[in-house]
Structures are given as C-alpha cells and as structure tokens.
C-alpha cells in the first residue's frame, strides 16, 4: 500500500532506533550509523528523517534528561510505535519473500 512504504535511509534509521532502544536520540543514532555502516550522515538529515517518521506515526518521542555537554538542553528519545514495527517487519517480509524467489543462477551463485 502506498504510504506504508519505507525508504532505504528511513528503514536504516528505524532499525538503529530499535537497536538503541530506549536511548535513541539524534547524536547517538548518527554515531551508531557511522559505526555500523561506515556511512557519514549529517545531523540534520537524521533529524529530518526522524521527524518525518514521527509524522507518519512510525516513531514516537519524548524528552529525556538534560546534560552539561548539551548546554542544558534535553535529549529527545525516539521509540518505535506499533505501526512502525509493522512497517519494518513488512519491509523485511517483502525482502525475504523476494530473496526466496530469486533463482541462484541469477545471483551468480553456484
């Protein structure tokens, strides 16, 4: 269905949010992406995706504690919603399904 579809980066961010649960916030997500996938992303890109996913209802957020290094500003922790987890698993199902249908020959595997 149109709308439940997840972009590649959206999926990645959602997965990382899951990995960091329940302490997923902007900087942590960015670091995690860097360490796990060696991709350098900008903070604003991460924020934009987080807010978009939140608008779609796949993520939810709440303010956490403030720390000294944040200049007294609170962190915003993101968690996956029910709809989000559905969308994630649907994406995985689709991939699995598609993978299973590809004949080995096509992937040059013997």
């Amino acid at each position: 269905m149109k709308g439940t579809y997840l972009g590649e980066f959206e999926e990645l961010v959602m997965l990382v949010v899951g990995v960091l649960h329940p302490k997923a916030y902007g900087v942590a997500i960015k670091k995690q992406i860097l360490s796990q996938t060696k991709r350098k992303v900008t903070l604003s890109a991460v924020h934009a995706v987080l807010h978009r996913l939140e608008n779609k209802g796949y993520l939810t957020s709440e303010f956490g504690e403030a720390t000294a290094e944040r200049g007294g500003k609170r962190k915003k922790y993101f968690t996956i919603t029910m709809a989000g987890s559905k969308a994630l698993s649907m994406a995985m199902e689709t991939r699995k399904d598609l993978w299973s249908q590809i004949p080995n020959v096509a992937l040059h595997r013997s």
Binding site: Y25, L43, A45, E65, E69
Partner: protein, 897 residues
C-alpha cells in the same frame, strides 16, 4: 516517594525535570550567532532537540579541534534550517496539487446544481456587464480634453453677469483676446474661434461645411491636434489659409494629396490648404472639420464679420481660450479680469452695456461636464455621470448579494458535504479553498459571459448613449483592469464570506444538516428588501423621466413647428436678398406651400439680447430679441392677440418697430391693446424710435427647462439666417420637390439644404430622452438581476418546504391555502420595501423635477405603478414556483421519511 519534580508542558505531558544549574556550557562565537538564526528560522517545537544535539556534537568535536567543531556546528545548523524550509516548500507544492481537485469538485458541484449555477452566473454576468458598460461611459465622459498636452494650463473665457458671479456664457468677443494678452502678463497666448458655417467647393464638389471655424494660428500650438501633413504651427499664420481634417481632404480631393490645393469659400474667396490634421478625438469638446485663418477676416465678404463682430468689445461672437503661464496666481488674475471691461472697453459703451459684464475663466478640463450656455456642441452632464456610477454600483451590489444569498441559503444542502469532508480529514483551510475556488470559477465564467454581453450590446449601447464606442475600447488596459477588479471584488464579497462562514461548522452539526445553522434569516430578508427597494426606485424613476419627457414634448408651446421646412441661409447676403426680392413670392404661390418667412432663428435656438428701452422705462435693459420677416408669426403659428404683423411695405417695420409678447406687456403693466403704439428705442440713441405694433400670445421658443422671458420681435433685416416654409396639406415629398425646383431656378450656385423645424426642436430634449433611455435600459437590467435572485431564493424555499407542504396537503390544505402560506413572506418583504423606497422616490424625484421650469407634479401613482410592476414580477415568480408545490404528490415527497 519519588523525588522527581514534575513540570507541566504543552501538549500536556508529565516530564521529569532535572535541575542542572552547574551544567551550563560556555557559548562560543558561532553558537551565539547561529543560535539567533535557528531561533527565528527553525520551528520552536523542534528547537531544543536540535540545539541539544548540536551542542553535544560540538563538545565532542572540540576534542579534535576548535575549528572543526565551529565549522560543523555552523554547517549543521544551516543545513537544518535549509532542510526545514525545503521540506515546507515541497509540502506547499503538494498542497497546491489540491487546486486541480478544487477546480474539479467545483465543476461537479456546479453541474449537479445546474439551475442555481446558471442563475448565479447569469445574474452576476448581467450585473458585471452593466457595470462595464457604465464604466466605459463614465471613463469616456471624464476623459474629455485630457489629451491636450497643455490642458492643465488652458482656460476658456466665459462671460457672466457680475451679480451672479460666474461665467454662464461660453462666448466672448473677438476684441478681448488681444487686449487681455497685452495687459495681463500671466497670459501666454490666446486662441479665438469664430464658428462660421460656410459654403466650400472644389469645382463641382460643393458642400455647406457646418463645422467651419475662423481661428487664430495659436490654435495649432496651444492645443495638441495631430498634424498629418504640413507645418502645424505655421499653418494659419497667413491670410486665406485653411487647415482641414483628413475626412474633409478625402471628400474634396479623393485619392490625391490635398496639401497646397485651393478651396473656394462661399463662391467668392479662394483659400489654400496649408495643413491636414486628424479629426479631433471623440473626447474633445471642440469638434471641427475646417479651420480658416482669422487673418482672412479683414478681407471677408461678410460685412458684419469684418467689422463690429470681430472688433467690438460688446459683440459676443467668438470663443476665446487662454493659455496661462505656469505658476501664476490664478485667483489674482481672475480678480483682475473683472476690471477689464472698465479699464479697456470704450467708456461710453461701458456705461451702456458693460457695468454688469464679468469675465470669468473656466478650466478646459471642466468644460465637458460643466457646460454653460452657447457651447459649440452639446456637452455632458456631471449629474448623469454620478447617477450612472451609482446605478452601476447598485446593480453590482444586487448581483453580489444574490450570489451571497443563494450560496448561504443553499448551505444546508451542502452541509452534509461539508460534514463529510471534515469527517474524512479536510481541514478548515481545505474547505475555505474549496468555496473560494467555487466562487472564483463562477466569477470567471460570469466575467467571460459579461464580456460577451458587452460586446454584443455595444451597438445598442451606442444607440442609447449617442456615443461612439468601438471594440478597441474593450481592449484597453484600463477596461481590462476594471473588469478584473470588479470581478475580484464581486467574488471576494460574494464568495469569501460563504467560504469562511461555511467552513467553520462542526462536522457533527454539519452532517446532521441542522437547519438552524444555515444563516440568519433576517440577513436574507433585509437583502431581499434592499433589492426590492432598489427595483422600485429604478422603476419609479424610469416612469418619472418618461412622463416628464413626454410632457415636454406634447405640451402646447404656443407655436407650431409641424410641417415647417427650414432652409439655412447662414446670413449670406445674396441668399437673403434673393429670398426677399423674388423667392418668397414664388414660394408663397406654390399650391403645396401655405406660407414662408425669413428670420434670425428657428424655434429652439438660443438667440441674443438687444439692449433697448420702452416708453416709461427709467433705464435701458437687455431684451431677448428675435429678428423676423413678414409672415414669420403665421408660418410658426404664433398667435397675435393685438395689433398686426410686420409688412414689407412699411419702412418703419424694417427699422425699429417691434412686436412683443404677452409676458413683456405684463412686465410693463400694459394690456395688449394699451401696448400698441408704445415707443421703443433700440441702442438708446434716440434715432428713429419705433413703436409696438403687435402683441403675441406667450410661446415657448426654447425648451421647457427655461421660463418664458419677455421677448421682442424686431423686423430689422440685419441677422436673417433661416427661411421657414410651412407646407400645406400632408404631401411633404411633393412640397419638397416643388420648393427645390423654385430654389434651383433662382439660386443654382447654392446647394438646396433643409431640415425640419420640429426635429431640431426635439433635438433639444436629446439629453432627457437619452437619460430616459439609459435609465430604462439599466433599470430593466437591475430588475432582471433582482428577479433572478428572487427566482433562486424561492426555488430554494420550495425545495426546503416541499415536505411541509406535502403534510399540509395531506391534512387538507387547498391550493390557494398553499399559495398564501408560501407567498406570505415575500409579500411582506415587498411591503417593507415600498415603505422604504417611497420617500426616497419622492425626495429624489422632486430634486430632478426642480431642474425644469415646466414640470409634472410628483404623484403617488408613479410609486404605485412601480410597486405594481415589481409586485407583478414577484407574483409571476411565486406562481411559477408555487406550481411545483401544488402539483407535487405528497406521496412522493414524504416517501423518504
């Protein structure tokens, strides 16, 4: 127990709040700077998270290098702002994709309710087209003479009496211009015009040119006429030179260059064409075909023109225009001009004629809409411009109000749609857009239709107004902007109100179709009352104008212009003398001619006055004087109640003997019989005093705007201008053939030209007739628009009350009961409208009637008639709509519940 402190946040959520007094971070250069940018350009709700994350990263990056930390902070924060705005913009674009949806839905709604849509569009289009036509008219009327580059500095010299304090006469004397130019340094140059219709010929091509003027050479420099050939400023500096328009050039010299050619004037002079100009534009108050140089006057064959008409301060024959220098004290100049007659005219004549003479300046730009007497061509009327502007606004208001009324009234049928839209997630903004788009589309369609109506109605409009508007006038930027402006205004008023009004309903109320939510009834009622009132006023006004005009046209004038043929001689001595010596006798014996006479004026024309004294008067005064020959009174059916007509045999009759009218006799306190033989002295010179030889019954020589004034008929043959021939029997064509034959026999070198006296008299009521016709047209349109609105409204009420009437029927209501129940409201509203409009009609009607000396009285039946007509209109609509109720089957109507 928890030690956490809870703080209230919006949206309400409980968030653990941790004190962090000592965790403050030293802001660096970039953070301080960019903090401001972020605060202003980033949504506040997301700001804390972003700032926090940025700070955290900054701290971490500080470990590698300060520069890197600063750079990344700056880059990331700017990137965040840009990203946010890009996102907002794409969102907006996604929103605007909705436009196509709005348009599509609007068309669907319109198609579903074809009846109302057509009503709306036609009503608006009619209103708009009226407005546009009136705009054309008003725009044209107010554009007069603006094309002259020096228009702001040009003034016309008007004469008036000092007691009245303003210039009431457009002409001045030929002697004034030079004297004023010599003595008042404020005046840069002066232009004199002498209207002098002449016989113009090139070989056998021979015409009387009515728009023939003698003008000073400054005519070509002070005004901005478009010269197409020749040297404009030099053109009229020599005697016997002419400037002609392209049309005239084409008439006398078809397909050959006219410049430098000669034209014969009055068969005795030859003038050279030194320049050719375009005809004066439509919005010029001066209209001419041929301009001849005033330098030619000293050798002109007409003796009066050569002598006193051009040189006497008190002979008023010229139009004088003055070009003033920039930056002068106008008020001071006007004051000084009042002294001019005393300072510069002959002292003896000043004592005799000049004591009350005042010289006044009228700005060129004011002439068209504020004309005085003796204008060259009929000019406009500011009152009419105002009245039509008001009508335009009224019609537009009626149109807008219709639209508004229909939309809000029908809101209930659309409430379900609104509710459903809300329920499936349409925001209030969406709904507003939806309604706004509907009104924009209806407005645009109405505009297109209005343009078509204007285009098709243009010839009719030209016929009504007597103006010349062309298709090109519709393509001017002004016109297009005006129509756009009007339609925008209309849709704003008519469309945006419902948009806001309807969008604010709660989804639940809306879906229920709660009729209480469909707007206040009193607004709708007062709107209907307003429309009725406007209609009644317009209908009553139309009747009033029509009655007054026909009253004026049918009133017994005391003279009879019926079947009188007029042949102008224009004062040409050869014609006058031929008539007096031979022509008259030949004409009078024709079997088709009753009588003929020569005179100065034909009825309707504005003559001059002569300063004279009757026996028993202490002082000279100005009497309206008409110069006539024998049989003039007979020919025009003016009745003598005492004495006799002039006779060619009696020498005194052609000198200073006079015939007076009853009003003059009354003024002097004489009975008609007493008046006979009383002494009359013209010019106070005591030479050849004449006497009163006859008294006529009173007659209206001019229009009924003016009262009958004391009038003198003089038999002195100085200003004979027109031959009048009364036809015997009904065979006008035969009479014309006879008369022409006689004319050709005597005067083959002059074209036979004539007009009918009654037609030229009727011409004087042109303004009233015109006004009446325009009023009739626009009031008809206004009423149609109002009735269209009523149709829409009643049709809607029928739909709404169909069930109610079904139940009434089932319970045994008869057809007439139903009709009364249905129409009661409308009749009440009509009654209220009558109460409101009647006093207005009476006040405004009396105001207008006061401009006529002879007028009908304002009577109640005019209002009654207007009421009956508008009532009849409503009645027809009510019956039409009521039949829908009466013929409906209660079973069908009530089945659904």
């Amino acid at each position: 127990m928890s030690t956490l402190v809870y703080e209230l946040h919006w949206p309400i959520q409980l968030i653990p709040y941790v004190k962090n007094s000592n965790q403050h971070i030293e802001p660096t250069y970039s953070t301080r700077r960019l903090g401001v940018i972020l605060k202003w350009w980033y949504p506040a709700a997301l700001l804390e998270e972003l700032e926090g994350d940025l700070n955290e990263e900054y701290r971490e990056n500080l470990k590698s290098s300060k520069f890197k930390a600063e750079w990344l902070y700056a880059k990331d924060s700017i990137a965040a702002v840009l990203r946010h705005w890009l996102w907002s913009f794409t969102n907006y674009l996604k929103q605007s994709i909705m436009i196509s949806n709005y348009v599509k839905t609007s068309f669907r709604v319109m198609l579903r309710h074809k009846f109302y849509s057509v009503l709306n569009i036609v009503g608006l289009a009619l209103g708009l087209s009226c407005c546009l036509l009136i705009f054309l008219f008003v725009n044209h009327e107010t554009s007069y003479d603006k094309f002259h580059q020096k228009a702001e500095k040009l003034y016309r010299l008007n004469l008036g009496s000092i007691e009245r304090g303003y210039g009431s006469y457009a002409k001045s004397s030929g002697a004034m211009a030079q004297v004023l130019l010599d003595n008042y340094p404020e005046i840069e140059s002066a232009v004199r015009l002498r209207h002098f219709p002449s016989l113009v010929a090139n070989g056998d091509t021979r015409f009387y040119e009515d728009k023939f003027f003698f003008v000073d050479s400054t005519m070509m420099t002070a005004f901005s006429w478009e010269v197409v050939a020749g040297n404009g400023p030099e053109a009229l500096t020599q005697p016997n030179t002419l400037v002609i328009t392209e049309e005239v050039a084409q008439k006398y010299f078809p397909n050959e260059p006219a410049l430098g050619k000669q034209l014969s004037i009055d068969n005795v002079m030859n003038f050279e064409i030194t320049a050719i100009v375009k005809s004066p534009p439509r919005n010029s108050h001066l209209d001419f075909d041929i301009l001849a140089s005033t330098m030619s006057i000293p050798t002109h064959h007409s003796e009066p023109l050569r002598t006193y008409q051009s040189h006497s301060w008190y002979a008023v024959y010229f139009y004088t225009y003055l070009l003033l220098k920039p930056g002068i004290d106008l008020e001071n100049l006007e004051l000084k001009l009042l002294d001019a007659p005393r300072l510069y005219s002959d002292p003896e004549q000043y004592e005799l004629y000049g004591r009350r003479q005042g010289l006044y300046l009228q700005p060129l730009l004011d002439i068209h809409l504020d004309p005085v007497s003796a204008e060259i061509t009929p000019q406009g009327n500011m009152t009419y411009v105002w009245i039509f502007s008001v009508i335009a606004v009224l019609i537009l208001v009626v149109g807008c109000v219709n639209y508004l009324n229909l939309v809000t009234a029908r809101a209930s049928t659309r409430l379900k749609e609104i509710g459903l839209r809300k329920a499936i997630g349409a925001s209030r903004a969406n709904l507003k857009y939806q309604f706004a788009w509907e009104s924009i589309i209806i407005g645009s369609l109405a505009l297109v239709l209005a343009w078509v109506i204007v285009l098709l109605g243009l010839p009719l409009f030209n016929a009504i107004t007597g103006k010349q508007f062309y298709f090109e006038d519709l393509l001017t930027l002004e016109f297009i902007l005006a129509s756009m402006g009007v339609v925008t205004l209309t849709t704003m008023i008519g469309g945006l109100y419902p948009a806001f009004y309807l969008a604010k309903f709660q989804a639940a109320t809306a879906i229920k179709g709660d009729s209480a939510a469909t707007g206040k009834a009193w607004i709708r009622k007062s709107v209907v009352v307003m429309q009725f009132s406007i209609s009644v006023i317009l209908i009553a006004a139309t009747f009033l104008i029509h009655r007054q005009t026909s009253f004026m046209l049918s009133k017994d004038l005391g003279l009879n212009t019926d079947k009188v043929i007029v042949i102008p001689t224009r004062g040409v001595a050869e014609l006058n003398n031929t008539y007096l010596s031979t022509l008259k006798h030949q004409l009078d014996v024709l079997p088709t001619v009753q009588s003929s006479a020569i005179g100065e004026l034909s009825p309707g024309e504005l003559g001059g006055g002569i300063i004279a004294r009757f026996e028993g008067m202490a002082e000279n005064r100005n009497f309206k004087t008409i110069i006539i020959g024998t049989d003039y009174l007979d020919t025009y059916g003016i009745e003598l109640i005492a004495g006799r007509d002039f006779s060619e045999e009696i020498v005194e009759d052609t000198l200073e003997n006079v015939i007076i009218n009853e009003t003059l006799a009354n003024l002097m306190g004489w009975t008609p019989e007493e008046a006979l033989g009383k002494k009359y002295d013209f010019g106070d010179d005591g030479i050849n005093p004449g006497q009163v030889i006859g008294v006529t019954k009173d007659f209206h020589f001019r229009t009924l705007h003016t009262e009958i004034v004391p009038t003198v008929f003089s038999g002195n043959h100085r200003f004979l201008q027109k031959i009048a021939i009364k036809v015997k029997g009904d065979n006008l064509p035969e009479a014309l053939v006879d008369i022409e034959e006689v004319w050709k026999g005597q005067l083959p070198q002059y074209p036979f030209e004539y007009y009918f006296a009654d037609e030229s008299l009727t011409q004087l009521y042109f303004n009233e007739k015109n006004f009446g016709r325009i009023f009739l047209t626009f009031s008809t349109l206004a009423i149609s628009v109002a009735l269209l609105g009523l149709i829409g409204l009643t049709a809607f009420f029928v739909e709404k009350r169909l069930k109610e009437f079904g139940i009434r029927k089932v319970l045994g209501a008869t057809d007439s009961h139903l009709f009364v129940a249905f129409s009661r409201n409308v009749v009440q509203l009509l009654a209220v409208a009558l109460v409101i409009s009647s006093p207005l009609v009476i006040i405004l009607g009396n105001r207008w009637l006061e401009t006529f000396s002879y007028r009908i009285s304002m009577s109640a039946d005019i209002i009654l008639l207007a009421a009956i007509i508008s009532g009849l209109g409503c009645f027809v609509i009510l019956i039409w709509q009521a039949t829908r109720i009466i013929f409906s089957n209660p079973a069908d109507v009530l089945r659904n519940d």
